[in-house]
């Protein structure tokens, strides 16, 4: 028993004497993985089986009797740039994904889907989660998500939804294009400027803040960092 600790102590001392070659958070680029099934460990004959568990209620079978539907009223809000408040109505929190929410917001606000970020408790949430995974089931009758439009008000009207029917499909041209034929004045200005003047525009700081929120995954911290950058730049 004690030898475990003695060995570990001696081993760590050796480790200290060697240079570090690989960071503890090193990740190979998954784009380089071979197209095969990854290696996983074989199961030992002595390993028991996990008791099989059928999904309690397969999502969406609410039509069957007894299956409880879990719908909640979903509202998305953005405090500023542009201020938004969109009610998405009653949604099934077990089958509506965050991506679905994004698509609805994109449609309502007429912006490209990839410019929409959804926040819960000031943190970004990933596309593939369903609402229920994010908020839990007991969160009251109504769910309110934060939402952020990258690029701010400048991208409004560039979603390609505008005059088109509600039923635009995901691959429709225009939706994925950046900036493009946006008619917002800011957009034009941002494209016309170069060099230091870019940093005088509100749009630049909004973009930076958007990037930081995405990278840091914490709206509060991102806001602080943006403030520090901006303060340092303007006070230079």
């Amino acid at each position: 028993m004690a030898t475990e600790i003695a060995f570990a102590k001696a081993f760590l001392a050796q480790l200290d004497s060697k240079p570090t070659k690989l960071a503890p958070d090193h990740v190979e680029d998954a784009r380089g993985y071979p197209p095969t099934t990854p290696y996983t460990l074989p199961r030992l004959p002595s390993q028991p089986c996990l008791p099989p568990r059928k999904k309690s209620i397969p999502t969406g079978t609410e039509n069957k009797k007894g299956g409880g539907t879990t719908t909640k009223k979903v509202v998305v809000k953005s405090a500023r740039n542009p201020p938004l408040s969109i009610s998405l109505g009653e949604l099934d929190i077990k089958s509506t994904s965050v991506l679905d929410v994004k698509m609805k917001v994109a449609e309502e606000a007429d912006v490209p889907v990839d410019k929409v970020k959804v926040l819960w408790n000031k943190k970004l949430v990933g596309d593939t989660k369903v609402i229920g995974d994010v908020v839990g089931e007991d969160e009251g009758e109504e769910v309110e998500f934060g939402v952020m439009i990258l690029g701010g008000a400048g991208v409004l009207g560039t979603g390609g939804f505008g005059s088109r029917g509600k039923k635009g499909d995901g691959e429709g041209e225009g939706r994925g294009e950046k900036g493009g034929e946006g008619d917002g004045g800011k957009n034009v200005v941002a494209q016309g400027l170069a060099g230091e003047k870019v940093l005088d525009t509100e749009a630049f700081w909004e973009d930076l803040n958007g990037f930081l929120q995405q990278r840091v995954r914490d709206a509060g911290v991102a806001e602080r960092v943006t403030g520090v950058f901006r303060g340092a730049w303007e006070g230079r």
């Binding site: 081993f11 071979p34 002595s46 679905d100 596309d127 029917g165 039923k167 995405q214």
Partner: protein, 331 residues
């Protein structure tokens, strides 16, 4: 055009929601016919629209066979049309996936086709990480441990947490001294994909759940100037993993050999279950050539990190996992 297809979809959805079983089967057949027309005309958006919507309506109504059939056809259309892997195209498939009953036989085929599509038309030859994460999480929830492992190992930053929760649950079915066995089921495969971060995250999560749930379990933090490790005197294999993760960062062969010698009797008790994984790790991280033999699995792992397939040649440096000065992408 789009209003016409909208009308067809709305009518079919209504029939499925209200209809008896025969009606629903007919709705499926009609959808196949309509979709075939659009496919022939290469009107992909319309074909995708009707297949996605009717498939989901059928799955929602508990018609797994019919709905699954159309969902598989939907993936087929994606491939024919060359639809790229993006948020919208994935979202549509995941919406279908979530509606499947876990017992539905067509679900497995759908998952397989979906992953194959993401290999062919996305940037990840092993399949899209987000799709792997969702599929793996689904299997984990259903206690399909080994299926879950195969997907979560190729998943996202969030996958280790799901995988460890599953392994821990599995561990609780087994004897208390087998903790290392279950932690290894996450740690070693992650090391083998070159994902040191996920391997570390898995180890930490497993060890802290273990000590959190077993207050009486003896544990001691051992530290030197630069490193820390939590040692469980009664769980040598778990300690082996903790020390291995530290040694991987240094990458010198003597460290690996010491560890293997020290824990050889415990590893031998596993009847060879870890041997292959450890040989591959020895080569990838410590430059120790694996025993000479041509083995298709080794060749496959060899090609993982840029080495030419064919295997056998000792210590090919390009095969090693090394730090590269690449900035982490936005994710």
């Amino acid at each position: 055009m789009s209003t016409k297809i909208d009308r067809i979809i709305a009518r079919l959805q209504k029939r499925i929601a209200e209809g008896a079983e025969g009606e629903q089967y007919e709705a499926q057949q009609e959808t196949r016919l309509v979709a075939a027309r659009y496919i022939k005309a290469e009107n992909w958006p319309a074909a995708i629209d009707i297949l996605a919507n009717v498939s989901q309506a059928l799955l929602r109504a508990g018609q797994g066979g019919s709905g699954g059939d159309l969902a598989v056809l939907l993936v087929d259309v994606y491939r024919q049309a060359g639809i790229k892997v993006d948020a919208a195209s994935k979202g549509r498939l995941l919406a279908c996936l979530r509606l499947f009953d876990s017992e539905e036989p067509t679900r497995k085929k759908f998952i397989k086709e979906m992953i194959e599509w993401s290999k062919k038309l996305g940037e990840y030859p092993a399949g899209d990480p987000e799709l792997h994460h969702v599929v793996g999480s689904l299997y984990a929830e259903e206690h399909e441990a080994e299926e879950a492992e195969r997907h979560l190992v190729l998943g996202t930053k969030e996958s280790p947490e799901v995988l460890v929760r599953l392994e821990y649950k599995w561990y609780k079915q087994d004897e208390p001294h087998t903790a290392g066995l279950y932690a290894a089921r996450a740690v070693l495969p992650y090391l083998l994909t070159g994902n040191v971060r996920a391997a570390n995250a898995s180890y930490r999560a497993f060890a802290s759940t273990l000590s959190g749930e077993n207050k009486s379990l003896s544990v001691q933090d051992v530290s030197s100037q630069a490193s820390d490790v939590r040692i469980f005197p009664s769980l040598p294999l778990l300690n082996f993993l903790g020390l291995l993760l530290l040694a991987v960062q240094k990458g010198t062969p003597d460290l690996f050999r010491q560890l293997k010698t020290k824990y050889s009797s415990h590893i031998a008790e596993l009847g060879g279950a870890w041997d292959m994984a450890l040989e591959m790790i020895a080569e990838m991280y410590f430059g120790i050539p694996r025993p000479r033999q041509s083995n298709p699995l080794f060749d496959m792992m060899g090609s993982l990190f840029g080495g030419a397939p064919g295997g056998g040649a000792p210590s090919r440096p390009s095969r090693r996992v090394e730090a590269a000065p690449t900035a982490e992408g936005l994710d």
